[in-house]
């Protein structure tokens, strides 16, 4: 079956490449306009800038590195370059040969933005093209919205967009279109971040000062992405200002941040260094009672980029973050991610662009418990080495071809426990798990006319489980049938999955379009969790001889329109997604350092469907949006809920967000947002009994109950302080949960403290009225 799948995919790829060569042969004599789009102030390349030929349907967008290429017949053209938050620029070009045109766009100041109707002030969904299921957010757009603790966090702001749901109050974890948190691929400058959470998810690992923008693919993932079922969160770091050295920073309630960037050689190379550290613990130290406790996290983002010549550019970026939590000597835990990305952009010619990346990613945690004579340490780690190449080839003005490959070597240290000499523990080092994840892909964007765009793509992924250590055969009840021993490096099993990606967009008229897409995704790395929030100790397991790759098929259709003189944008997308080989824990699973995690798992399937609506006001003094999602997400797992379908925990029927930003004057910007969503699906007891003197609860059906509905209103205000030529300063105020709604975080059933013969139901809620102020500066 696998071999057939491979053959099929190869066929598709072959047809694709034939198709493109055919196009090439018939192409008439044409020339290219190519180059890069950058920001005038900082020299940063602009992702997704629009390059449009006025009064025609020719146009393109800049790629992840700001590079673009446009193939046209010889003529004179008016080309409009525009981007989010930038003043558009129109350039006249006489095309009689290949032309290189590098454009730098200046910042749009607000008076201009208010009147410039043609430049969309916000990015994201687009009427044109065939890409759907995407949400984009730049730091620029998010900066005025209210946030908890005054800590700007893109992962929290995107939760206000349809189809992206928060994992919990104040949490940076997200559920996308009914999927789980581990089904989101979170990449920072292409490096996989295995745990994007600080402090149990209350902050994300992304320091917004270091981030350029974030794109979330909820569906219709382009073929260059793969490895997770539900979404891709592509986070791009700033490159560093190659014009002027600048220092910026902020002081907030929770943390301080500092960012230094500047040119190494003007116009050619630059550096960026951004740090953030929380300082709650510094104050704790001042207090006798709390002084031995530890509670902090820090992040460090660094980037260097260097132009090697006209055709080559090198980037080196890195991230390092760490959390530490400890109570006296009795308990300490720390965890963190570290990533490194070395990228090389090479322009072969005005039509062929190559990016080669070598990526390293590491996540580990260490846990220490001390009581009496026991001093026990636990360690776990996951580490990736990834090499990949991505070619972008502009065949003609109707076809854009993209192809490439990726190879990832995964090393997991599932769990290591060691004790001191007097402890009651035997040291135990679990076998390392090695695997090799490979993929090849190709896709072509075909625009036969100014109405239709067809993107045909395919990805073939292959995952090899490699030896070293013991593997097991397991019976239906989870008992080990036999143990198999493999030598290191031996291929135990290889899974192949063809992943077709097809999307079509059709312009109904100049301001409205419909799109449809089909996407298949395979996921080979799995994280199984029992809690809804982020737990740093949650285990990642790779696909093995027993754990099958998760597979999803997503079908989506959408309608997109710019209405009311382009001031508003209305979009609606509907999706249906089925998922295979979904994992869950067996009842009474004991996964803590369990050698055969497979024996504790159950497998099944899932389905999720819904409709997402969004109405956005893009221009004027008041901007913002209303988003509404109605959806369903269900699971069917053998061994759970009598093998019948049940609600996934993250199944939330209604999800509403209303966001408004009002620019009062040059000095003040006000903002507000309101969210409402149906409570998570949970299991409440339907009976109770006594066994051996203890109160036990009886559960009838999984996730048949609901947490109370969640709603919250936040306000924010930004005050621009006196601007001088060198200094910009602002104060940002936020009030989270304005009306102090006690949203349920957990609901607990327990014996009453004073009368243990009675049961009480106790709701715990977290954040009520969280005010914050932070001071931002830049010089």
């Amino acid at each position: 079956m696998n071999r057939m799948a491979v053959r099929k995919t190869m066929k598709v790829l072959l047809v694709l490449s034939l198709f493109t060569t055919a196009q090439k042969t018939f192409a008439q004599k044409k020339f290219t306009i190519s180059g890069s789009v950058t920001s005038k102030n900082s020299g940063e390349s602009i992702i997704g800038a629009s390059i449009k030929v006025l009064n025609s349907n020719f146009g393109t967008t800049s790629n992840e590195y700001g590079f673009y290429s446009l193939l046209l017949s010889p003529d004179t053209y008016q080309v409009v370059y525009s981007a989010v938050g930038k003043t558009p620029d129109t350039v006249q070009i006489n095309l009689s040969g290949n032309i290189e045109k590098n454009i730098s766009l200046s910042e749009a100041n607000y008076e201009l933005a208010a009147v410039t109707v043609t430049s969309s002030k916000t990015s994201g969904r687009s009427v044109s093209g065939s890409q759907m299921g995407i949400e984009k957010l730049s730091v620029q757009e998010a900066k005025n919205l209210p946030v908890i603790f005054g800590e700007k966090d893109l992962l929290k702001t995107i939760q206000l967009l349809p189809g992206i749901k928060t994992a919990g109050d104040g949490n940076s974890g997200i559920f996308v279109r009914g999927g789980t948190t581990d089904q989101n691929q979170i990449i920072l400058d292409e490096a996989n971040i295995y745990n994007a959470a600080h402090l149990f998810g209350f902050f994300s690992t992304f320091n917004s000062d270091a981030i350029k923008d974030i794109a979330v693919y909820k569906g219709g993932m382009p073929a260059q992405y793969g490895g997770r079922l539900s979404s891709v969160l592509d986070v791009r770091m700033n490159e560093g200002n190659n014009q002027n050295t600048s220092v910026s920073g902020s002081l907030g309630l929770i943390s301080a941040k500092l960012n230094v960037e500047g040119p190494i050689q003007k116009d050619k190379s630059s550096f960026l260094l951004t740090g953030r550290r929380t300082y709650a613990d510094m104050f704790l130290k001042l207090d006798e009672e709390y002084k031995n406790n530890q509670l902090y996290f820090y992040d460090l983002n660094a980037k260097l980029n260097y132009e090697l010549g006209k055709k080559d550019k090198l980037f080196l970026s890195g991230y390092f973050g760490k959390d530490a939590l400890g109570f006296n000597d009795q308990f300490a835990i720390n965890w963190g991610n570290g990533t490194g990305t070395l990228r090389w952009n090479h322009i072969f010619n005005s039509r062929l662009f190559l990016n080669t990346s070598l990526i390293f990613s590491n996540y580990n945690y260490a846990f220490r418990v001390k009581n009496g004579t026991n001093d026990i340490r636990i360690f776990s780690q996951i580490r990736d080495w990834n090499l990949k190449q991505d070619y972008q080839y502009s065949i003609n003005n109707q076809n854009n071809f993209r192809f490439g490959w990726s190879s990832i070597y995964h090393i997991i240290r599932p769990g290591e426990i060691t004790g001191n000499a007097t402890s009651s523990i035997n040291d135990k080092i679990q076998d390392k798990r090695y695997s090799f994840e490979n993929a090849v892909y190709a896709s072509n964007v075909f625009k036969p006319n100014n109405k239709l765009t067809i993107t045909l793509g395919a990805r073939l992924s292959a995952f090899s489980v490699l030896g070293g250590g013991n593997f097991y055969n397991i019976d239906g009840a989870g008992n080990i049938k036999d143990t198999l021993r493999y030598a290191k490096g031996k291929v135990i099993k290889t899974y192949y999955n063809p992943e077709p990606r097809v999307s079509v967009g059709y312009m109904l008229h100049t301001n409205a379009s419909i799109k449809a897409a089909y996407t298949r995704n395979a996921q080979y790395m799995h994280q199984i969790t029992t809690s809804t929030g982020s737990n740093p100790l949650d285990k990642w397991a790779s696909t093995s001889n027993i754990i099958q790759p998760q597979i999803s098929n997503q079908y989506s259709i959408g309608y997109y329109a710019n209405i009311l003189h382009n001031n508003y944008e209305f979009t609606a997308e509907a999706y249906y997604k089925d998922m295979e080989n979904i994992l869950d824990y067996r009842n009474g699973a004991d996964v803590f350092l369990n050698e055969t995690v497979e024996s504790q798992l159950l497998f099944g399937k899932g389905r999720a469907y819904g409709i997402e609506f969004m109405l956005k006001k893009k221009t004027g003094k008041l901007t913002g949006w209303v988003s509404y999602t109605i959806s369903k997400s269900e699971r069917k797992i053998n061994g759970i809920n009598n093998n019948k379908w049940y609600n996934a925990t993250q199944d939330r029927t209604h999800d509403i967000a209303i966001v408004g930003i009002y620019q009062v004057n040059k000095k003040w910007t006000l903002s507000g947002n309101f969210v409402f969503y149906t409570g998570n699906a949970v299991t409440f007891p339907s009976g109770k009994y006594q066994v051996n003197g203890q109160t036990a609860y009886y559960y009838n059906s999984r996730n048949a109950d609901r947490m109370p509905n969640y709603h919250r209103l936040d306000f924010g205000a930004t005050m621009q302080l006196k601007k001088t030529k060198k200094w910009t300063k602002e104060l940002v105020f936020s009030l989270y949960n304005v009306y102090g709604r006690e949203n349920a975080f957990t609901i607990n059933f327990k014996d009453n403290k004073d009368n243990p013969n009675l049961t009480e139901i106790v709701q715990t809620s977290l954040f009520r009225w969280v005010p914050s102020v932070s001071y931002n500066f830049k010089f």
Partner: protein
Amino acid sequence: MKRIYSALYIAILVCAFASCEKKIDLDLNTTAPIIVVDGQVTNSATEGSMVRLSYTNKVKSDNSIVPLPGATVTIQEDNGTVYTLPEVSSGLYRNTTLVGTTGKTYHLKVVTNGITLTSSSTMPVMVNFDSLVVEDFPNFGKTVKLVTPFYNDPKGFGNNYNFFMFKNGRLIKDAFAYDDLFIDGKKITFPLVYSRENDEFKKGDMVEVVMTCIDYANYKYWFSFSQSATGSPLAVPDNPITNIQGNAIGIFSAHTYQKRSVVIP
């Protein structure tokens, strides 16, 4: 000054982070009563053997037991003697003459209203409960007293333990079930950490600890019990893995019984 500032800061943090608890009321589904078996055979002449039969109750009712009277309860030792457990009070079936022996398997049979429930459990080797000591432990800025049972796990996997702790004669409602996956052949010195502030030991408290050696099915039951049946929201709620066959929940256990006590100094 520093002190005031830090106090202010902590106050802000506590405001923001301090979880706020309140009692609420919920509409809950109620299932038809289900039979609960809670049975044991011990090697102690004073404890003997008993089976308590009851029904599940509504969550919002009090914790008193809804007894199941009038059942026929028997326990067979290996393939030998069948002991009958007469009903000594409503729903409680007891036979003090049935004292278990390690290595033997006990077969429970309950017949009630035409329903038959069965289970079996093997009494494992008894591991000696060496001593019970009181120790001081730091706990979030203060010191609390805990008790630690000392014992030596025999070499070779497969020993399972369950502890019950009583303070001044009242059971502390926490489950302490261990297997020997990480502790095989070691001297065990893990304190029994209770979860409720109310249970905190004070000077003069009499603490009794019962150590039972249990079979693997019992370990799975108590482990899954502590994970998912105690009403805590931290794990996915589910019913503990029962070893009762038939339409019932609960546990039947043949275990060794040792008790030690200590007065908190």
